[in-house]
């Protein structure tokens, strides 16, 4: 090679903390040769707020609001995971109506999380219209959840032993109307995005993830199910009232970005089916376990409770030494594992494909950084 004075060097670029397609404050340091990426190293910690340190300085009830702010898109799953872990420690059982209400609200929250993802992801790929549709549907959904829980995003609604407020008639009719309306909107998403040639060309065959890569990196959730592995905590480790409903787990076949998108769309349909069945079979009875002690002093021991959140398996690992404050709480967050595969998948891809891959993994940064 003729020595031209400018030596052959890769170009280093910050896909930095403030970037529209990183869905928050994630920084990816890219080393590129022309348009092709030779090395992509995510740098996280820009959203670190120290939830686990806070857990050790608060008693069990005081840590509940934190649960809504770890993964604020599917906050109710985190509430459910944490409450069920503490209920396991205390040996509390939630009455059946309480479990049904938890499932209904958590599935509604999962749909609102997928709608935000569809909007933000298509925005990354340059399509501005889908986010308007998605957020319009989401606003209707948030009206429902707002009626019952009182907040729109960072829910802190579940209590140890059940649910503090019951569903009222207007919520039930509103939810049934919402289900009908969203089902009719799926055709719009179908024609707007799924059959969109540009979207297919940008996502088919991009960012392939195989099964043994998934095992090595501990992927869970739609990112894993896109590669054809039907691992969903609601089915493989049934909890709460999920055994009472029949629903499928959609899986992709090739494991590329398009399949991960398709899995999330089909999953919303399944969530609607769950909500419908839950509303039809809603038992009456108490919504809160009766004698729940005010000052919780669970016995010493440790517990691990896994729950299926919109991004994957949220595991709440609590070590208690028998006093008011938990000794240690570890939040096993799905996006941590899902993002750690990015350096391996992003090698030799175009920068535009990296944006597609990063979006398809659906990360929420304060959840990764905790």
């Amino acid at each position: 090679m003729i020595e031209l004075g400018i030596e052959e060097k890769t170009y280093t670029l910050n896909l930095g903390p403030q970037h529209p397609s990183t869905h928050g404050v994630l920084r990816v340091v890219l080393e590129m040769d022309g348009e092709y990426i030779t090395k992509a190293e995510p740098v996280i910690g820009y959203g670190h707020r120290g939830h686990e340190h806070m857990a050790e300085n608060r008693n069990y009830q005081q840590f509940l609001p934190n649960m809504g702010r770890v993964d604020y898109l599917h906050a109710l799953a985190y509430n459910q995971g944490y409450c069920m872990a503490v209920e396991k420690l205390l040996g509390l059982t939630v009455p059946e109506r309480g479990e049904f209400i938890r499932v209904i609200l958590s599935e509604l929250n999962r749909i609102s999380s997928h709608l935000v993802w569809i909007g933000a992801y298509l925005l990354d790929l340059g399509a501005f219209t889908p986010i308007l549709y998605a957020f319009d549907d989401r606003e209707n959904l948030l009206d429902l959840l707002d009626r019952i829980t009182g907040s729109r995003l960072t829910y802190c609604f579940y209590r140890f032993g059940g649910v503090p407020r019951d569903l009222d008639e207007e919520f039930i009719t509103g939810t049934r109307a919402f289900i009908k309306r969203l089902r009719s909107r799926f055709r719009d998403y179908e024609s707007l995005v799924t059959k969109n040639v540009i979207f297919i060309n940008r996502t088919r065959g991009v960012g392939l993830i195989t099964r043994d890569q998934a095992v090595k990196y501990g992927l869970t959730g739609p990112t894993l199910r896109g590669s054809g592995i039907a691992y969903d905590i609601r089915k493989s480790e049934p909890y709460s009232a999920y055994p009472a409903f029949d629903f499928q787990i959609p899986i992709g076949d090739k494991g590329d970005v398009f399949d991960r998108y398709l899995v999330r769309i089909l999953e919303m349909e399944q969530s609607l089916r769950i909500i419908e069945q839950a509303l039809n079979q809603l038992p009456n009875g108490p919504i809160m376990a009766d004698k729940v002690p005010k000052r919780l002093k669970p016995a010493a021991g440790e517990v691990y409770q896994a729950v299926e959140s919109a991004r994957g398996e949220f595991g709440c690992y609590i070590v208690s030494q028998g006093d008011l404050k938990p000794y240690r709480i570890k939040l096993r967050v799905p996006s941590f594992g899902n993002l750690s595969i990015l350096p391996e998948v992003a090698v030799d891809t175009l920068v535009a494909d990296l944006v597609a891959i990063l979006g398809s993994v659906d990360v929420v940064i304060p959840e990764i950084d905790r």
């Binding site: 005081q62 095992v215 096993r332």
Partner: protein, 154 residues
Amino acid sequence: MLKDKLKTALASLNLAQVSDGDYARTGYHLEVAAGPGQMPAVAQAMLDQGCFLESLTAVDLRESFTLVYHFASFDELCRTVVHASLTKETKEAKGAQAPTISLVYPGADWYEREVYDLFGIKFAGHPNLKRLLLPEDADFHPLLKDFGAEPGND
């Protein structure tokens, strides 16, 4: 059953304790206690049975650390927890050390960096053991028990 296969696979490693877990109360099917040195072998055994590393964390028990590894499997419900206790960095003993398992599970790379960042436990053989969450120039480990424990607000 996956649990029995795991038991036979782990039996050959003469670990400290391999016992059934009480799933209803703790959420574990298999509880294992191992020395930190045996962790790469345990991780390899788990990977051969198709289990994935669910989470890796540490608990600061004031006089010693406990590394907690969770393994689960995609196909069959069987959650294994592995406790590895670690001496703390005393005046004469070298810093708390544990061999890395990121060569077996590349996903553990970040988990170990996070444990190093928040606890200060070093992992021997880790490709790039740097801080993961805190800024590079931070000089403290926040999740240690003696770090800023507040007066009880119960």
